[in-house]
């Protein structure tokens, strides 16, 4: 393996070097990758010039995997092994996915998240999504001529913790460093707002292939503040196709049909829907494998009638988001339409009628999310020097704990600005009780059984006390990705009980490691080599970041303090060539610990400077 090159501290050119960062829109129907080049956000194309990559993965008999158009072409021939709209299954159990009977897959009901039985074995939605991400990574690295520093991946704003975690796991499996999970409507707002230098309250109406999101944002001077968000993570263009599909079955009086015919009629349905965007009627013809002939004409009026209730289903969340933001339709300056499904004229009409103004459609609804994600990726990777873009996003669904009687105790309300932390105190129920079971849920309903179960864990080692004497503080922290971590400690005794939150969904560390290994089809030594490589990259990044901080703000430290940090850096630098992944990891932790005080002082200083900014400027003049 080639040795990494490491520059002397302070000598590194890295902070000024352009970092390769991209934004990825991992969509239900199509995925895209975009980047900022010469100050412009642009979508990256494949060799044939396609911007969109169909989010379709085909597992072939010879063990190879097709992704995109090639896979899409196979979906009617080989429906069991061609996975479309996998995003609908991310972080979802079998019971969460309603109409499995209409889908051509062999689902496996595994705890937490379902799996799909293919000819090459059981595949988790995370693995399927990772295949799409790997291809986009390749596309980006080829176009940009280097390895990616980091990516921003967009998720529906209404995705819960399990769905977000699944997305992050997929990125890790694809070998990507995730700088941030960004909400799709917020990404669209960035692309839109920066283009139009808009100020005021905007609504982002995002109807994608499988998800619906609505976000209300206040835009002002480069600050994008999400006031409220709502949506339906199981409603999208797919549902319109399915309505047409059911109509075809009804009209053609077809007997139960096989998976191949189902897939091909669903494709015909989508084509008819798209045709009706610019035409008054669409002809649907298909000769089924069963020998039945379908020959029907669908008018746009009929389509409107068939899908009316779906459109109505988008207006309820819109109403709720407005109410949560404390605003009325009259406060809204513009509505930005996002997602391919917003091309349907009946959707545009319904939105125009609801808000009393025509929605904005000047940006390509398929690309706007990726374009915005690329802008944010560029900022996060540190390529912009002027700090003029700030996104303040919210948590879409309330977080709570199960209390007596299966009721939810809300700890963090929906639409709280991220990051956020909240603590809740609990006590014991019996004398001498030494353990407590904690169940974390997400959702708005009163009954725990109606909410999404996120994690269950046991808090052990509580010192025996009389009932009600112990004070157990459970702290929820939701980070800027919208991901939750929970910790608990007993207050009165000062005993901190360390707990590991074992998610009742998603993948464990071990499972991810196993998947990484099997995807490389490699031996144990390769697994170690990969871990070492990852640890070295981590270490290098950290050394670079600290060298930069020292150069900028070294004056905040005494000579002794500076020396301590430098010694710690030296130790890590030595270990990088000789140590194993664990030793490097420990040295990284040690260096992080050694720089905590420095980090705090740096931030203190910058806040003071920002708040005093105006005064200082006047003085200087």
């Amino acid at each position: 393996m080639a040795l990494l090159q490491i520059a002397e501290p302070g000598m590194s050119a890295a902070p000024h070097q352009h970092k390769l960062a991209v934004g990825i829109d991992l969509g239900t129907t199509n995925s895209l990758v975009a980047t900022v080049r010469s100050g412009m956000s642009t979508v990256l194309h494949d060799e044939e010039g396609h911007a969109l990559l169909p989010s379709v993965v085909h597992y072939l008999p010879d063990g190879s995997i097709d992704v995109g158009y090639a896979a899409q072409a196979q979906q009617s021939q080989d429906p069991h092994n061609t996975i479309v709209s996998v995003k609908r299954f991310m972080g979802r159990g079998l019971k969460d996915v309603g109409d499995t009977a209409q889908l051509p897959y062999k689902f496996v009901d595994t705890p937490g998240m379902l799996q799909i039985q293919t000819r090459v074995g059981k595949k988790s939605p995370v693995e399927v999504s990772a295949e799409i991400l790997k291809l986009l990574k390749q596309r980006a690295e080829k176009a940009l001529g280097g390895e990616l520093t980091g990516v921003v991946i967009t998720v529906p704003a209404y995705f819960d913790d399990a769905q977000r975690q699944a997305t992050k796991d997929a990125a890790r499996l694809a070998g990507l460093t995730v700088l941030r999970l960004l909400n799709e409507p917020t990404a669209a707002a960035v692309a839109y707002g920066l283009d139009n230098a808009s100020e005021g309250v905007y609504v982002i109406y995002d109807l994608g292939g499988g998800t619906f999101d609505v976000s209300i944002l206040r835009l002002s001077k480069g600050v994008f503040e999400v006031l409220a968000t709502n949506g339906d993570s199981a409603l999208g263009g797919d549902d319109f196709d399915r309505r047409i599909f059911c109509w075809i079955l009804e009209q053609a009086k077809l007997p139960p049909i096989n998976p191949e015919d189902t897939r091909s009629l669903l494709t015909k349905s989508r084509e008819a829907k798209e045709w009706l965007t610019d035409h008054a009627e669409a002809r649907i013809t298909s000769l089924l494998k069963s020998g039945d002939l379908v020959d029907l004409t669908l008018t746009s009026a009929k389509l409107k009638e068939l899908t009316q209730h779906l459109i109505a289903k988008t207006l309820n969340p819109t109403r709720k988001a407005l109410r949560d933001a404390g605003l009325g339709v009259e406060d809204v300056k513009g509505i930005v339409m996002v997602g391919g499904a917003t091309r349907m004229p009946q959707v545009r009409h319904a939105v125009a009628e609801f808000f009393g103004q025509d929605p904005l459609t000047n940006l390509d609804p398929d690309k706007v999310v990726a374009l915005g994600a690329a802008i944010q990726a560029n900022v996060l990777a540190g390529n912009r020097s002027e700090n003029d873009l700030l996104l303040l996003d919210v948590i879409p669904l309330s977080l709570g704990l199960e209390t007596m009687g299966g009721l939810t105790e809300r700890v963090i309300p929906r639409n709280s600005t991220l990051p956020i932390a909240r603590a809740q105190d609990f006590t014991t129920f019996k004398d001498g009780q030494t353990a407590m079971s904690i169940h974390v849920v997400q959702g708005e309903r009163e009954l725990v059984s109606d909410c999404r179960s996120l994690a269950r864990f046991e808090l052990r080692g509580i010192p025996p006390m009389a009932a009600g004497a112990a004070r157990i503080r459970v702290t929820f922290q939701v980070d800027a990705d919208g991901l939750l971590s929970v910790s608990a400690r007993e207050q009165t005794s000062g005993v901190e009980s360390h707990i590991t939150v074992k998610p009742s969904y998603g993948l464990s560390e071990d499972e991810i490691a196993d998947m990484l290994q099997s995807s490389f089809n490699a031996a144990e030594s390769d697994k170690q080599a990969r871990a070492l490589q990852e640890a070295r990259v981590d270490a290098e990044r950290l050394l670079e970041a600290i060298a930069f901080a020292l150069k900028q703000d070294g004056a905040l430290l005494s000579e002794v303090e500076k020396k301590e940090i430098e010694t710690s850096m030296e130790q890590l630098r030595n270990l990088m060539n000789t140590g194993n992944s664990h030793e490097i990891h420990d040295a990284v932790e040690a260096l992080n610990h050694a720089t905590e005080e420095f980090a705090a002082r740096r931030m203190d200083a910058s806040v003071r400077k920002a708040l005093a900014g105006q005064k200082l400027n006047t003085l200087e003049l």
Binding site: L380, L390, T417, I420, L591, E596, M603, D604, V607, L611
Partner: protein, 178 residues
Amino acid sequence: MTQSITQNHFELFGLPAQFSIDLDKLNQQYRKVQSEVHPDRFAAASGAERLKSMQLATQANEAYQTLKHPTSRARYLLQLHGIDTQEDTNTAMPGDFLMLQMEWREAMEEATDARDIDALERLLAEMRKTGRQFQQDLQQQLDENRAFEEASGTVRKLSFIDKVQADVEQTISKLEDA
């Protein structure tokens, strides 16, 4: 030891510790602080800086939310003066306010049974109006008279109104879904 950025929420944003605040200034200062400490500014920084950034951004959000809403702002101000508003324990309310409470509850039940969203919206508007009256009282009690015990009682009333308002909003939301 680390010198923390601030002792309290008002100081964090460089605002005087009083009930009447300049909301525009609060918004402005909040954005300035977040521009410096938000995790997005530290996505490529060291672990120590990312952790500190998350703590400070969390604190700024907490402080902003507390100061933005009148009820929580008053409650917090009283806390700074060492007064617990006892919202969970002290349920004694003046007779006229109890009457008002009952009227609202009745109106809410009636409108809910009749599935009358407009009536619920009107009820919300009425509660907001009453709330604003109490907020004016608070300004006098807290900023001018420094009558903290009295202010404590006003906070309990406002807090009650907030709860009923949330109930009404949730009812409206349910009716719309049905």
